[in-house]
């Protein structure tokens, strides 16, 4: 009984498979898929292209070149490593290196004062020790 039921089912499924063999997607499906994929990009880009066209003839004021040239003439001739276009990060690095150099200068000055003071203190101590020893020896 079960065997017969299975044979009927298999026959039915075989029949369905043969009848649906020719089914295929319409050619337009590929276009629709591609359109759906690119629509995400196309939506904002189409609007941006419109705004790009509308701003195509933007031009600076006539005096820009003269203003730039007067600044250029007024600017003192720069030294290569300290001049040029800098981003915020490179400006920060530049400031840090300048700060570092200043700190090194201050440190060197403090170190020199310390050395002088220690030399002075050592001499004073030696003198006092010698005089103390002399006075002790004199007392004996």
């Amino acid at each position: 009984m079960a065997e017969r039921w299975r044979d009927d089912l298999d026959g039915f499924l075989t029949d369905v498979r043969e009848k649906t063999e020719d089914i295929s997607a319409r050619p337009a499906l590929v276009d629709r898929v591609m359109a759906a994929i690119s629509s995400g990009q196309a939506e904002p880009d189409a609007e941006l292209m419109r705004l790009a066209q509308a701003t195509e003839d933007l031009a600076p004021s006539a005096g820009l070149t003269d203003r730039v040239m007067s600044e250029v003439r007024a600017a003192p001739r720069s030294i290569a490593p300290q001049s040029g276009p800098m981003s915020t990060s490179s400006r920060m690095a530049d400031n840090l290196s300048r700060t570092g150099l200043k700190a090194m200068g201050v440190f060197a000055a403090v170190a020199a004062v310390c050395i002088l003071f220690s030399t002075y203190a050592e001499r004073t101590l030696d003198t006092r020790l010698i005089s103390t020893i002399d006075s002790v020896e004199g007392g004996e």
Binding site: L51, T55, L58, S61, G63, M69, I79, S83, G84, P85
Partner: protein, 182 residues
């Protein structure tokens, strides 16, 4: 007549400051358009461009242009960096598009262009400076990803990522606007 700006740059590097005028004259229109589209404000764009030109001049006379890239590409990089700095400062100050007025700008600009610039600024206002720059260079200026990546000093993959994030943010904003309208 086409001018080899690298040769002009070499003259500037040798101390001929007046030669720099030729560079400004040849590049001011596209660079101003770029600055205005990036910043969204005519007066501020001109100020940023002026400072960028002075920086470029100092770099040229200091021998910091090595000639490996085209001078135009190098200038685009300088102006783009200056605009990114300006956008970041603006974000810190909290200036909004509505408050801006083109006071002091004496150039001739059609009213449609002014309106379009305000629209562009409003559209891109929610993007980070990096995303905004990537989108303007590619989708507004029409550059290839490779050229834009060279200007921004990043890899093409990194630029593609910024573009995906920027477009996604724009779509999200648009959908949010449609939902609130509907």
């Amino acid at each position: 007549m086409s001018v080899d700006l690298r040769l002009v740059a070499a003259r500037v590097a040798k101390g001929d400051a007046e030669a720099f005028r030729q560079i400004v004259e040849h590049t001011r229109a596209p660079l101003y358009r770029l600055a205005a589209r990036l910043i969204g404000d005519l007066t501020e764009a001109e100020d940023v461009l002026q400072d960028a030109y002075v920086s470029a001049f100092r770099a040229l006379e200091g021998g910091r242009y090595d000639g490996r890239s085209k001078l135009e590409t190098w200038l685009y990089r300088i102006v783009t960096n200056a605009c990114v700095d300006a956008l970041r400062k603006r974000r810190t100050r909290g200036t909004t598009a509505e408050l801006k007025q083109d006071v002091g700008f004496d150039g001739h600009v059609r009213s449609e262009a002014r309106v379009a610039l305000v629209e562009l600024d409003a559209m891109l206002s929610r993007l980070s400076a990096q995303e905004r720059t990537a989108l303007v260079l590619v989708a507004v200026e029409g550059m290839t990803v490779k050229a834009a990546a060279e200007i921004l000093g990043c890899t093409e993959g990194a630029l593609e990522q910024r573009l995906v994030r920027a477009r996604s943010a724009l779509r999200a904003t648009e959908r949010a606007g449609e939902a609130s309208d509907g």
